[in-house]
């Protein structure tokens, strides 16, 4: 009953296969984080490049760089500590502009409390809340470094009009006020809540968020406006991604150019008696085609709550909380 040659061979083969498997999947801890003190900056920095294979990408399942070399921000592609150190050095202020008109005032509390907690936490954020109901705002607790500016606006009968006039309002207020108060500005829909940190990884010259509805869709089936009579029309065979109008931004200069261009298109369409398929979002997508974003946010940054979450979406940082049927 001893070990025969066959047994020995079986053991060798198994060892060989195990060895081969082991060799191709070297064990390395997923979050290989080290705290290091860099005297140069006097701040604790963590760099978590994979220790055994520094060149191996953390995310192999998704595109992390566009063909025009804009990074696409996904969980595990960035180290927020390094980015925070860079951001802090430059003494920047970021603003958020949001609209709560008519029934949408119900979303203010949820949005503001979650944004206060999770949006650029630890850095100064100016929240610019445009509302037709400024008296209705209950006392909101703001983090010490944040500021809330409540700005009254008139309401419109159609929500599409509100949606489209946002572009106009934002560009006018950038010119008259925001450019003196913030370096970067982000437009965010009010009917969302933040559940995870959204930090300085979003800060860049021109930033668009990939829509969670459309991120796997083929060009032809994307929701671009296709009627050539509209200023927002994207010709057949063109288009990179479908961006959501719920979350976009960048430097004040770039956001100014974007909102002006979009509003011009909206006005022109109105004169020609046409309304783009998805309103301001169509115009935004047209703008982003020929003025490509310098950074893209993955659908983690604006997830549609109704959608079932695939494995590629490891984190839902901001989600819609729509109760009525907006889209």
């Amino acid at each position: 009953m001893g070990i025969t040659k066959l047994h020995g061979l079986a053991i060798l083969v198994t060892a060989g296969i195990t060895g081969a498997i082991w060799y191709h999947h070297p064990f390395s801890s997923a979050s290989d984080q080290e705290s290091t003190f860099s005297s140069e900056e006097g701040i604790l920095l963590k760099t978590d490049l994979n220790e055994t294979s520094p060149m191996l990408p953390r995310r192999q399942d998704v595109l992390v760089l566009t063909p025009w070399l804009a990074p696409i921000v996904w969980e595990d592609t960035f180290n927020r500590d390094i980015l925070n150190a860079q951001y802090t050095q430059k003494n920047l202020v970021t603003g958020v502009v949001t609209f709560a008109v008519k029934k949408y005032v119900q979303f203010i509390e949820g949005f503001m409390s979650s944004a206060n907690k999770y949006f650029l936490a630890g850095h100064q954020v100016n929240f610019y809340l445009f509302t037709d109901n400024p008296e209705q705002i209950s006392h909101l607790q703001m983090a010490p470094e944040n500021h809330l500016f409540v700005i009254p606006v008139r309401n419109y009968s159609q929500w599409q009009d509100i949606s489209m006039s946002r572009m106009d309002i934002i560009s006018r207020y950038i010119q008259s006020q925001f450019q003196y108060e913030v370096d970067y500005l982000y437009s965010i829909d009010i009917d969302v809540q933040l559940f995870e940190h959204i930090g300085v990884e979003i800060i860049d010259a021109l930033v668009g968020t990939i829509s969670s509805w459309q991120y796997t869709a083929h060009r032809e089936s994307k929701s671009y406006e296709t009627r050539t009579e509209s200023q927002a029309a994207i010709p057949k065979g063109e288009g990179d991604f479908y961006y959501t109008a719920s979350f976009y931004g960048g430097s004040v200069a770039e956001v100014y150019k974007l909102t002006r261009a979009c509003f011009k298109g909206i006005v022109k369409d109105r004169e020609n008696g046409i309304e783009a398929r998805w309103h301001d979002e169509s115009h935004l997508n047209k703008y982003f085609l020929y003025h490509k974003p310098t950074r893209l946010l993955s659908p983690e940054y604006c997830w549609e709550e109704e959608l079932s979450r695939p494995r590629t979406i490891q984190v839902k940082r901001m989600c819609s909380v729509r109760k009525d049927g907006k889209k």
Binding site: P54, V64, L65, L206, G239, K292
Partner: protein
């Protein structure tokens, strides 16, 4: 370095560099992309799954497959940029100039205006070179130095001074390249950025503990154990001319500090460059495709070699 290095009095910092204020031309933000037809980028289809293409601070790492040259050219060409190149042809290294320039004419920034600034202590030996239209060749005479260590110590200073005196008015971007190299494949606008560094071919896939950083704490270039992102090669660096001016100045200062303390960093200016890029991270990183050494066995991750040691 080993052995004694003797320093002559002229190594004291020249005040003119530090008090210069340069007028820079308006920085152009690259964004306007004309109509172009190309394959749709797909969110679930990464082009390179075998290599890191974005650093933890969200700077792109440029590998073949990550970018579309057509898209980039369509945005950059209309900007009428001038790209500068510095290369040092010192002593016997003038013999590399011919091949360097010939290959650059074939592969480097085709379709763009290029100024080659050749720093040499031997201007008489520089041959007359015929370049394509829109491309210029300028000889920058420098004094003869007694040793190669001295040359290495002076390179940052020479580049910095030249930017201040000449090239800041002439170029938008500047690349500082070693001359004993040739271009073998396209080097284009995918390399343009604020601060650009290249990963050293011998150290691109090893843990940071194996990087040949300067480790002696007495050196201004020292990087302690446990720190470091990549090991960048000294043969390729660049960026917007204003940024190159700033970091060559900083590197020159740390080099001078070491000199005053009687220490020379393990890899000379490359050590100082690595120290600098640790605290001031590059905005764009070039893969070893852009800085290759044929004596290193070529792994499958390197699909294409663009610039290599002769």
């Amino acid at each position: 370095g080993n052995g004694k290095v003797h320093y002559l009095p002229y190594y004291l910092p020249c005040p003119e560099i530090f008090s210069m204020k340069l007028q820079y031309t308006e920085e152009k933000l690259i964004q306007l992309f004309p109509q172009l037809f190309y394959q749709q980028p797909r969110v679930l289809a990464p082009k390179r799954q075998d290599v890191l293409t974005v650093t933890p601070w969200l700077a792109p790492i440029i590998w073949e497959g990550t970018f579309n040259s057509e898209i980039l050219d369509s945005a950059y060409r209309p900007l009428n940029l001038t790209i500068g190149v510095t290369a040092f042809a010192i002593g016997k290294y003038t013999r590399f100039l011919g091949r360097f320039l010939e290959s650059a004419e074939k592969h480097f920034m085709k379709g763009y205006q290029v100024n080659y600034y050749i720093f040499t202590d031997n201007p008489e030996t520089i041959p007359d070179v015929q370049l394509q239209p829109g491309r210029r060749f300028v000889i920058v005479p420098i004094k003869k130095y007694p040793s190669w260590q001295e040359i290495s110590v002076r390179r940052m200073e020479a580049i910095n001074k030249h930017i201040a005196e000449v090239s800041h008015r002439e170029v938008d971007y500047l690349f500082c390249l070693d001359i004993d190299m040739v271009f073998c494949n396209a080097w284009g606008p995918e390399t343009l950025g604020d601060i650009v560094a290249a990963i050293h071919p011998s150290y691109f896939n090893v843990p940071r503990s194996q990087f040949p950083y300067e480790r002696r704490s007495s050196s201004a270039a020292s990087i302690p154990d446990g720190e470091g992102d990549f090991y960048y090669g000294g043969a390729v660096f660049g960026g917007r001319v204003k940024k190159v001016y700033e970091f060559t100045k900083t590197c020159h200062m740390t080099i001078l500090t070491d000199k005053a303390n009687g220490i020379m960093a393990a890899r000379q200016e490359e050590s100082h460059l690595n120290r600098h890029f640790l605290s001031h991270k590059p905005s764009k990183v070039l893969s070893p495709e852009y800085l290759w050494d044929d004596s290193v066995p070529k792994p499958p991750e390197i699909r294409l070699i663009r610039f290599s040691i002769v």
